[in-house]
Subunit: 352 residues, 2 copies
């Protein structure tokens, strides 16, 4: 993994050793391809690799089986074999979608992620999760397929609009919330500098946040235990995304999910009082958009099919306090329906 | 793995430990479901597991992404979580398709294969390959997802029509051809008894053949080396299937592929003279149908996208003699185009 200003120049170092057949399929979306795919392809071409470019329309709505099929068929038509490599250039949608193409292409070819968004750098490109959304919910079809390497070139963040940039920082806040109060505070205090595009500040926050996630993943690659804490805020967050047909962005939904799940923890006496308030303050500084009008029942309808459900019961990661996920009863636990319902009602009322 | 008469009774022993959420999705085709899905479901229900049945129309034409999507969505709609289990009841199409559903369902749930055909017992259910066919070729989309266990109940073979039974034995012959002359001869001499449905004879041949494949797979789970020898006959075989839109069955195509690839080896001086003739005799006793009229160029068009291609060049497993794959220049190697063309012409002419 290469993190920092100019890191994209290292892409070829990751790709060349695995693309032994000399063929590389670059996958990118309609926003990112015009900005960043060209330089990546040129650098690979200079190293003697033959590249083809495969694009899809930007947006979470493209992270579906139909685009996975089409991208796969396009790359097959180019004749790339098992000795080829997929290079994803883009944000979390691109790394998830291209990663799933790579995971299933001839039963698996290597993938390198060139993460260009704060979300992809901090979250999506690390940990090996790939997948697509289906009607029943987000990421319900996919595979674990760790990339052979990740490039996080913080220069790319300067091309990112304000909202996606802020949404990516929600995952960094989450990493702080579950494992490091210092990281949590660093993001909160550095938000203004980060929004101003201060590259050195961004590099250090991104690197710290990746390090937290990588440490959790390294302890539990296939999500049998500890890794579940990375889902803090996500049981409710994913349900909000699904219930609004992805009109609410991932970061905005997870920020709301963290507030709700902190409130659950406080109601159950698991989470230190004031934790939710700290999350409210930290996410307020990110200037995320308000949630659209949405009913509690709509959200609850989508909680049931979440992957974290076991034996049909949704499970939640709770905090002990900012900087520490609660691990007393396993890393994720069921919460009584009445508490889930009540905290959702409170949160949606407060959000008005 | 349980092999032999009555082995299906052991299914619950394999499923119960992994279906910790108590939910099981049984996947089967329209021919096999009425015969064998009921008893499997009843046995699982007796152990307290809740099962749902998900079927598709029998035939290789169903091994496509559309059915994979539909089966996945059906199981999601039933609410099965990551703590569920998929049980495939059927032949090679079912184990490949259901295995791919399991591989990608919530990024992977366990699968148990109840193999009911000779092909599935001998080949498809062992080794962890799953996948679907696409326009560009067979099995070009898929994943490695080893089953937690395999049931090969030889009583099920008595319900199998003559042609699928014989086609499954082609893979057993292949196992003999690449690793054991004794196994090759045993199948040839036992073919009549096997066709008569002699269960004890079938059990021992099936068990021996699985043992050969399992030993090869164990040495090389992800097909980086030795495992490639299992593809003997398959570079040409898959191309014949694709070129005829799967009108030619897998066993019939691989039998022809083995003859062509043996002829290549003899032409190159790699394979002992007379090897192809031994394959002709052994496959003749299986009474496979003749190939339909098919052009050499049609077959060659489909060889190029085979997974065994590296750097765009198709590769072939050659024999040293019956019982031993040639391994001098790696386990699969390119063959000069002129030799491929010439041997295909000869084989198609001889087949007339």
């Amino acid at each position: 993994m290469w993190i920092g200003s100019g890191a994209v120049g290292r892409t070829v170092d990751l790709v060349a050793p695995v693309a032994t057949g000399g063929r590389v399929a670059v996958v990118s979306d309609s926003n990112v391809a015009p900005l960043h795919a060209g330089p990546v392809r040129e650098a690979l071409a200079e190293a003697g690799l033959e590249t083809t470019l495969h694009t899809f329309e930007a947006g979470e709505a493209s992270k579906i089986r139909r685009h996975w099929s089409r991208l796969t068929d396009e790359i097959l038509a180019e004749g790339m074999g098992r000795d080829g490599c997929v290079v994803a250039v883009g944000g979390g949608v691109t790394t998830d979608l291209a990663g799933f193409v790579a995971a299933t292409y001839m039963r698996g070819v290597p993938v390198v992620h060139v993460a260009t968004s704060s979300l992809a750098m901090i979250d999506a490109a690390v940990g090996g999760k790939t997948g697509v959304d289906v009607k029943a919910g987000k990421n319900l079809v996919g595979a674990f397929h760790p990339p052979v390497g990740v490039i996080a070139d913080t220069d790319h963040l300067s091309t990112l609009p304000a909202l996606p940039f802020a949404e990516g920082l929600v995952e960094a806040l989450k990493h702080g919330a579950i494992r490091s109060a210092a990281h949590f505070d660093a993001i909160r205090s550095a938000t203004a500098a980060l929004r101003g595009g201060n590259p050195s500040e961004a590099s250090s926050v991104v690197a710290d946040s990746i390090a937290i996630k990588a440490a959790v993943v390294a302890e539990d690659e296939f999500e049998g235990g500890l890794r579940e804490i990375l889902n803090f805020g996500h049981t409710i967050g994913h349900a909000i995304e699904s219930a609004t047909a992805f009109a609410v962005g991932h970061g905005t939904a997870v920020a709301a999910g963290m507030r709700v799940e902190a409130r659950m923890g406080e109601a159950l006496g698991v989470t230190e009082p004031g934790t939710r308030e700290a999350l409210v303050e930290a996410t307020r500084s990110l200037e995320l958009p308000p949630l659209p009008p949405i009913g509690v029942e709509q959200i609850l309808d989508h909680v049931g099919v979440d992957k974290k459900a076991r034996g049909g019961r949704p499970r939640y990661v709770l905090l002990e306090r900012i900087g520490a996920a609660a691990t007393g009863e396993g890393f994720a636990r069921p919460v009584p329906d009445a508490v889930v319902h009540e905290t959702l009602v409170q949160e949606l009322t407060d959000a008005l």
